[in-house]
């Protein structure tokens, strides 16, 4: 057995890492974990004010559902995804002291960052859905069982990107600067603030292969419309995400033994 193979994912340690990540942001706040729910709700109030009252935004497909629920259902999973990727991309460099002194499976660090971010935002997402229901939007709660696998797929997708980004960031520090504008571009090219039909016909073919667009469309169908439109494409997306995850972990492990030389 070589020391490299000794580095397995360690469940207890991983759980502690996630708990610490969640605690870290709220540790010294007076209200503590209440912010997990308060923050998304305040944000929801801000968005409904800006988009319904000021912009008077309308989306034809949304019909009588209204713009705010249409946005909210897609927005929180995106925030979880984007924040997780950006935070995790610098997680290896910011844990340099630990990585240089203790041998362990370093992929646990970006993965824990992604997981913690998702746990926090999923809590907020549930609160937002609940408030939307109370405000009169008809949320199809039964389809939550289909929403869970979609969120898990988004989480896996974020994990894979985080593994690539955090490993590259050790060697090329510019990743930390490039990633936020890239994510911003991705946000605006994904139909979150608008509907997919707004995209020019020329790019619609390409946009269909944006996994985030596919996820967002499914979430809206499940939660707001109560429809299930799964076809062969769902299978391909699952397979692609699986392949991407496998590649990312192989990529990460090729570099992880050399991190210490470059940190």
């Amino acid at each position: 057995m070589t020391p490299g193979k000794n580095k397995k994912i360690n469940g207890v340690f991983f759980r502690n890492l996630v708990i610490h990540q969640v605690k870290q942001d709220y540790l010294e706040n007076i209200t503590g974990f209440a912010w997990l729910i308060l923050q998304p709700l305040i944000l929801l109030a801000v968005y409904s004010f800006v988009f319904s009252t000021i912009f008077k935004a309308r989306i034809p497909e949304a019909g009588d559902i209204g713009f705010v629920p249409y946005l909210a259902v897609a927005f929180w999973p995106w925030i979880a995804f984007s924040e997780a990727v950006i935070k995790a991309s610098s997680s290896i460099t910011s844990n340099a002291a630990l990585i240089g002194k203790v041998a362990f499976a370093t992929e646990q660090i970006p993965l824990a960052t992604v997981t913690a971010t998702f746990l926090m935002h999923v809590t907020g997402y549930l609160a937002v859905l609940l408030v939307l229901q109370l405000m009169g939007t008809d949320i199809h709660w039964l389809y939550l069982s289909l929403v869970v696998p979609v969120i898990i797929l988004i989480w896996l997708f974020a994990c894979a990107i985080a593994l690539f980004a955090s490993a590259i960031q050790v060697f090329i520090r510019d990743v930390a600067q490039i990633l936020p504008p890239l994510m911003m571009f991705w946000f605006f090219t994904t139909p979150i603030l608008y509907s997919a039909s707004y995209l020019p016909a020329s790019v619609q073919g390409i946009a269909e292969w944006n996994p985030m667009a596919w996820f967002v469309a499914r979430l809206r169908e499940f939660l707001l419309l109560g429809e299930i439109n799964l076809d062969w494409k769902a299978l391909i997306i699952v397979l692609l995400i699986g392949l991407f995850c496998w590649l990312s972990i192989r990529f990460f492990r090729r570099f992880s033994g050399h991190f210490e030389d470059f940190l």
Partner: protein, 395 residues
């Protein structure tokens, strides 16, 4: 035999990473599955094995590559070449505070570190009282670690390690931190650990510690294994090398200051033997020293005679001036001192006899002469000289 560690021909080259371009190139070669090879060679062809129950001490100067070797052993870094095999349950403490997050409480950090070391929650609960007792930081355990003194952090770090019950414990100079009583606690824990069949791999600058805790030693010098084997020959060779090196430095210093000596030493003998001889004595013999000094202004110079160890540690010295002794004038400008050390109580070993000439006022030192002599004998006493003594209680 139960082999815990076996490394063969391990080398480590740190890639050059100062310029962004170099990092990019290193990234490219790793991507293609090649190792970035250019850079500083820190380890060069090191092989060693650790067998259960045979602790190994790694010694060497600062920057010799000891810490890099430990990092390779624990798997923190990959070697550039060579084979590394580690078996059994290994706990490494390259730094006791590694893995501690300053914003979290001591208790949170204990949980974190214990899980990092591979302890399950149940094992942690079982050992928690022992950990807290060992760390001995009382109520502070619920305070954030950033409010701890560095000693407290180290105590807490070591305390978690004590709960891991490893087969092999790898430590890097960790005994050098913390106060006296904590160091004693660590040493006694380690001795208990060894007695219970644990094996230690220790980097230390204290030969005493290495000799006390280890059976084998590896002397790393400029990234290479200079000497490897049983602990006593290796540590002695290392100490001798160190003594010789510091003696060389001192000699250079003496030469620099004694240049163009004014009050010059013309002759320096022990029992008539001169510079190129190495007289041998037994304990209890007499030594007669003669030192002859040239005085340019024909005033009587002051003479100094002393005994030092091979590394320059002074054992005993006398200055003629202080004892009211004037030299014998042999002829114009030539003066002589003679003195006898009778019934010498130096313990067996190699010594240097040193003579100095000083100006008549006994203020400035002008010249130095040195001779090697040895004292033979068989005794189990330790130190440099025998102090007259008697045991007062005896059963």
């Amino acid at each position: 035999m139960d082999r815990l560690v076996n490394i063969e021909n391990v080398s480590k080259v740190y890639p050059r990473v100062y310029k962004p371009g170099e990092r990019l190139r290193a990234f490219g070669s790793l991507l293609l599955g090649r190792d970035p090879v250019h850079g500083a060679e820190v380890l060069d062809g090191i092989s060693l094995e650790v067998v259960r129950g045979q602790s190994l001490g790694i010694i060497g100067e600062n920057g010799a590559g000891k810490s890099t070797l430990l990092k390779v052993l624990t798997g923190v870094i990959k070697p550039s070449r060579g084979k590394v095999e580690v078996h059994g349950n290994v706990a490494a403490m390259l730094e006791l505070s590694a893995g501690f997050q300053p914003d979290f409480s001591g208790m949170d950090n204990v949980r974190m570190k214990a899980s990092l070391m591979g302890l399950s929650n149940r094992e942690l609960e079982e050992n928690l009282d022992d950990i807290l007792a060992f760390a001995d930081i009382g109520e502070y355990i619920n305070e954030p670690v950033k409010h701890y003194s560095s000693g407290m952090v180290v105590r807490l770090g070591f305390a978690v390690i004590t709960a891991c019950k490893p087969d092999l414990l790898i430590t890097d100079e960790v005994l050098a931190v913390g106060d006296e009583s904590f160091q004693k606690k660590c040493i006694s824990w380690m001795q208990k650990f060894l007695k219970q069949g644990g094996t230690l791999l220790l980097v230390s600058h204290s030969m005493y510690q290495v000799q006390k805790l280890c059976q084998k030693a590896l002397w790393v010098h400029e990234g290479k294994a200079r000497k490897y084997g049983d602990v006593f020959p290796v540590t002695q060779a290392y100490l001798a090398w160190h003594e010789k090196r510091s003696a060389r430095e001192k000699e250079a210093q003496i030469k620099a200051t004694g240049a163009g000596a004014y009050y010059r030493i013309e002759k320096f003998t022990i029992n008539g033997a001169g510079k190129d001889e190495t007289p041998e004595f037994a304990m209890g013999d007499d030594i007669e020293v003669e030192i002859q000094i040239y005085s340019p202004d024909d005033r009587p110079p002051v003479g100094v005679v002393g005994v030092v160890r091979a590394d320059g540690t002074p054992v005993y010295g006398v200055i003629s001036d202080n004892e009211g002794i004037k030299p014998l004038k042999l002829s114009d400008h030539h003066y002589r001192y003679r003195l006898r050390f009778s019934d010498i109580s130096l313990l067996p070993g190699s010594y240097n006899l040193r003579g100095h000439s000083m100006d008549p006022e006994g203020v400035r030192l002008f010249d130095t002469a040195e001779m090697v002599f040895s004292v033979a004998g068989n005794t189990k006493e330790v130190g440099y000289i025998r102090l007259p003594h008697e045991w007062l209680d005896q059963d």
